[in-house]
């Protein structure tokens, strides 16, 4: 069994201890975010394949998600930012989007780079999101969406943001970026990034102040 299958099966068994061990072993020769990109994400996707293959049910998915969430929280505590940035990012999933594992990984990337992270979690109603922006006055707002069905909610939020906060950079990522050509559906002030390495590159190149990639 390869590492990805091994981790997927540990997550499904709810064996957080062994799952954590496997991950820690990986971290001896891989950075936290490479591990998330190359091991943890594929393991969750593997769980999706098992469901499509009728080998597991949604109850198993819930358990695996809980363990994955726990592991991410545990890794989060160990983060020691390289250098504090006086920058704040607001993270959220749009209304009705419940997939949040990717969002948590994104939070960890920003934290590692010394950003102040305001994690609003998934399924943020638009009014709440706008209130949170007033409240925290972030330098960047990052949005995650998994399902194509969320495109309406994203469009609505992004257009509202463009009206109320025309200079606030917006970053969008998640599975939806692989399913739709968002460049054609959203205004050009929105940065579209499909992966953690892409995000990391954007941040190290100065984020909102650096060169524009999308």
């Amino acid at each position: 069994m390869n590492k990805i299958d091994q981790l997927a099966s540990l997550l499904l068994q709810g064996d957080e201890e062994q799952a954590m061990q496997l991950i820690e072993k990986e971290l001896t020769h891989s950075s936290r975010h490479h591990m998330m990109n190359d091991l943890l994400t594929p393991a969750m996707q593997r769980i999706g394949q098992l469901w499509e293959n009728n080998e597991i049910t949604v109850a198993d998915e819930h358990l695996a998600t809980a363990i994955c969430d726990f592991i991410l929280s545990k890794l989060d505590i160990q983060i020691q930012p390289e250098k504090r940035q006086e920058k704040t990012v607001l993270l959220m999933g749009v209304q009705d989007e419940e997939h949040y594992i990717g969002l948590k990984m994104v939070s960890s990337v920003f934290k590692q780079h010394g950003w102040r992270v305001r994690y609003l979690g998934p399924n943020m109603p638009e009014t709440h999101a706008l209130k949170a922006i007033e409240r925290w006055n972030p330098d960047v707002i990052a949005i995650s969406a998994a399902l194509v069905h969320r495109i309406m909610a994203i469009q609505s939020l992004v257009l509202k943001l463009k009206e109320d906060h025309p200079t606030l950079p917006v970053v969008i990522g998640g599975r939806i970026t692989e399913l739709l050509d968002l460049n054609t559906l959203l205004p050009s002030n929105v940065h579209i990034m499909s992966s953690l390495p892409a995000l990391e590159e954007w941040i190290t190149q100065g984020g909102p102040n650096g060169k524009k990639i999308s």
Partner: protein, 250 residues
């Protein structure tokens, strides 16, 4: 199929082996509308699962999938099927709607909670920066005349704070071209000699910068304790009273 099937209280369809819809219950039409093939109301992420497993699904076994409602909403459901030679009756059983009600309520609460949580995080940040400020205040460095700085220590101070103070003092020495620094403990309650850790390094760094360290305001018993611990660098002068220290440098 007859009227009895259409009146069936759950969404149900009759399909042939190519998944073409032959008949549908009113409950089905109400929710999903009419479609030529069953697969077209199945969410894209569930299509291969339906195509692969529905044809051989045995009676009474559920197949867990997502269906797309007329208005685009995704339903999480169990499909049950009874096949005959020509066709199959597919019944759609929603995964407990109670559950989804609770879960949407829950996510609203979660949203509220995460805002509160962020407020707490903000408060923590603020307190932390206040703390640093306070630490600076608990050991201000005062230039009493050119080349001489006085550092009165206030309140009780632990090892971590001591390290921070030392780091800040070294910068101050550099900026102010300090030659002599008096660190006065008169106003510091419960000074523990274990907090003296790191002082060795500090004094060495200071002396490289050409700064002499004088300590005042320690009780003789505390000085003795330091001596006993052998962490007292030889190059420090000790005075019991601040006045004595000031006099000595004149």
């Amino acid at each position: 199929m007859g009227k009895r099937f259409r009146d069936f209280s759950l969404p149900a369809v009759v399909i042939n082996h190519e998944f073409e819809i032959i008949d549908a219950s009113d409950a089905f039409l109400h929710k999903y509308g009419w479609a030529r093939t069953f697969l077209s109301i199945v969410d894209s992420g569930s299509q291969s699962k339906v195509a692969k497993f529905l044809p051989s699904l045995t009676t009474g076994t559920p197949l867990e999938i997502s269906l797309q409602e007329k208005q685009g909403k995704l339903d999480f459901v169990d499909l049950f099927v009874t096949w005959t030679k020509e066709d199959g009756i597919v019944t759609v059983v929603p995964k407990s709607s109670q559950y989804s009600l609770v879960s949407s309520k829950l996510s609203l609460l979660q949203a509220e909670l995460s805002i509160r949580n962020n407020e707490l995080v903000e408060e923590k940040d603020r307190v932390q920066s206040l703390l640093v400020e306070m630490q600076n205040l608990s050991a201000p460095a005062i230039v009493i005349r050119e080349g001489v700085s006085l550092v009165p220590i206030f309140g009780s101070i632990d090892t971590g704070q001591m390290t921070l103070i030392f780091t800040r003092l070294l910068t101050h020495f550099m900026d102010e071209k300090t030659e002599i620094a008096i660190i006065d403990f008169t106003a510091s309650i419960d000074f523990a000699s274990s907090n003296w850790q790191g002082v060795d390094e500090f004094v060495r760094a200071a002396s490289i910068m050409g700064v002499e360290i004088i300590v005042s305001g320690l009780h003789p018993s505390q000085v003795k304790a330091l001596n006993d611990l052998q962490i007292q660098p030889a190059s420090i002068r000790f005075y019991a009273k601040l006045a004595a220290a000031l006099q000595a440098i004149n």
